[in-house]
Symmetry: C2
Subunit: 360 residues, 2 copies
DNA sequence: TTGTACGCGTTATCAG
DNA sequence: CTGATAACGCGTACAA
């Protein structure tokens, strides 16, 4: 931690109920004036600074005064003004979270997991949507960072080098997630797409399928998943009959078309690994339409465990990444750093899980 | 607007690039000290307060000084410290948004729409998840409100009377969405579930279906949709053959079971209105499984236009609520209020749209 | 362990 | 239209 020679960030911990101002009673005529530290101090019979310490550095205050302060806080419903704190200390209790798309279920879960960990410790997650746009990302970074966040979370990786170095110099804990960039800004929580592909191959082998195929996009994560799949196929001695590459995937129809193409041009395919669930569900629907039984005639596996993977008959076998867990771990790592328990950058992998359903 | 006799809230408008501190150059040795208003004032040859006014109340400053300030701002990359502003003015540029579940696509879209409108005007959306829990809602309200937000948005309606009156007395614009409570806290943007049901009935009539049925949950929004459906059925002279009520709806299987029950106990049903898309998709899958052609043998319509409604063959006819538009309108109404352009509470309805697909 | 003095960066107020 | 002054509420630094 920079700028804090005193031994790490003391996270705000409010055990009391946080309430702004006292309850409105007939006596104060509907006025809802925030309680200030001075009043708490008066009631507790101590100085304002002792109140501050009692709340944020309980160890530095005698038990006796600490209790008095606690009582006074409860009576008044005092909650410190976060802006005044941030102004004075140069750091707020806000954690800035950047997502490329708020509406994405996966990113949503990650944010949710992170909030679960951070909120009980008094931090507020401030979410900014970068909309898969460098310009937006840059501008969001600038305006959220004006709030002097205690830490910064990205669901994803910061791509623009300009932003990476800006964040590096900011002197605030930064955590990236999802992927594994060669040179992380600071901390990292991700999962291995390659591992996921490998797991599917192993599963196919364990189920006794021999002739397997792959359908996926021709770039990005899909390639990593394919790499792992190939590796697993080789180790298990399976036969990779075909690799079908799609330029874009925009709907179920892409998966449907791909499966048809695959089945029409290759004989006897036991199992197909689709690099994501959307493709897989399309393939699944098409297999049903062709009257194929799953997994008897053909087995299909996806990647991502999307919403409907469990719902769509006969249930799609898929790789689940625990997005909420990614968020939770990210939150925990940030907390550890903010409390000065860890130092330096660290990187972690969240395990994937193969969810077996009716399709294999 | 409370506490601002001077004529409404002046929204922060930063046309310049918001940058914190000047670029790091070898000369300043990696130090990234925030630029303060004083320095901008010195460079522009005016007083700090004039800089402040030039940025936030351009009308009150002479053109000449305004330009000088603008230049100085560009040179330094000045951006005001939001905490200092909030501390002094008692109001931040933060808009608190409460959602019951971040991961929900619909709420996500609403938040997205609202952010689209508010962010260009210099506001930051701070999202809090209430997790469908009163306790969480109360605690989130208290801690987000400590940030003295400029306004408050709810995707949904505040149910707890204690929180409603708290928000009412807060003196900050509040906007609720989605439903129409009898006694809104302040402003409101919603859509009419009843209208949606009516639209489906009219569509069924227009398509020539006569004998229709309803499947839905036995409470909440489902009932409103049923009410509208009944009304439309009556007006159009259709025959409502059956109303099937479900206690809970947790997966596609509920819809599948419901359709079976319906078809097994009633003869010749032309069309079924399912009160939400999950039920409808279950029914759709089951109809396919039974070998029924859609819409020839049976027509099915849903409500909500969820992700897969367009994808699932033959395409689900459904009622689309434009969630992003709800958010956008909410943002616009908040802005108008913050700028003092409107006064008093107002309430608005966002139109629904029937999306016709293969299932009808 | 406790308290005093001061400053964080900005804007409200009021006088010019 | 412009500027001087004070204050927003809290925490750091230092002294007791």
């Amino acid at each position: 931690m920079i700028g804090d020679p005193g031994g790490g960030f003391v996270s705000p911990t409010f055990d009391q109920v946080i309430r702004i101002g006292r309850p409105v009673t007939p006596e104060n005529g509907g006025e809802r004036k925030p309680v200030r530290i001075e009043e708490v101090a008066r009631i507790a019979g101590v100085s304002p600074i002792t109140v501050s310490r009692a709340l944020h550095q309980p160890g530095r205050v005698s038990e006796e005064k600490r209790l008095k302060v606690q009582q006074a806080v409860e009576v008044t419903g005092y909650a410190s003004n976060p802006h005044a704190r941030a102004l004075r200390s140069g750091r707020s209790n806000i954690v800035a979270a950047f997502v490329s798309n708020i509406v994405s279920q996966q990113f949503g879960l990650a944010v949710q997991g992170c909030a679960e960990v951070l909120e009980p410790r008094g931090f507020q997650l401030m979410i900014g949507q970068t909309s898969y746009s460098y310009a937006r990302e840059t501008s969001m970074i600038q305006s959220l960072l004006a709030l002097r966040p205690a830490a910064v979370l990205f669901t994803g990786v910061v791509e623009l080098e300009e932003n990476r170095s800006f964040l590096r110099e900011l002197g605030v804990p930064v955590i990236e997630t999802w992927a594994f960039p060669p040179d992380p800004i600071d901390m990292l929580v991700g999962f291995s797409n390659t591992d996921g592909g490998r797991m599917v191959a192993q599963h196919f082998a364990a189920q006794g399928y021999r002739r397997v195929a792959f359908i996926g996009r021709s770039g990005g994560r899909g390639l990593l998943r394919l790499a792992g799949f190939r590796d697993g196929v080789r180790s298990a001695g399976l036969k990779l009959v075909a690799e079908l590459s799609l330029d874009t995937v925009s709907g179920l129809s892409d998966g449907q078309r791909a499966l048809n193409q695959l089945l029409d041009s290759h004989e006897k395919i036991d199992a197909v690994f689709c690099a994501n669930d959307l493709i897989a569900m399309g393939a699944l629907l098409e297999a049903s339409r062709r009257g194929l039984n799953m997994p008897g005639d053909i087995a299909i596996a996806g990647f991502g465990d999307s919403d409907l993977a469990a719902e769509i008959p006969p249930g799609l076998t898929t790789i689940r990444m625990d997005c909420r867990q990614i968020g939770r771990r990210a939150g925990e790592m940030l907390l550890a750093r903010l409390n000065g328990e860890t130092d330096g950058s660290s990187s972690e992998t969240v395990a994937l899980e193969l969810v077996k359903r009716g399709s294999t």
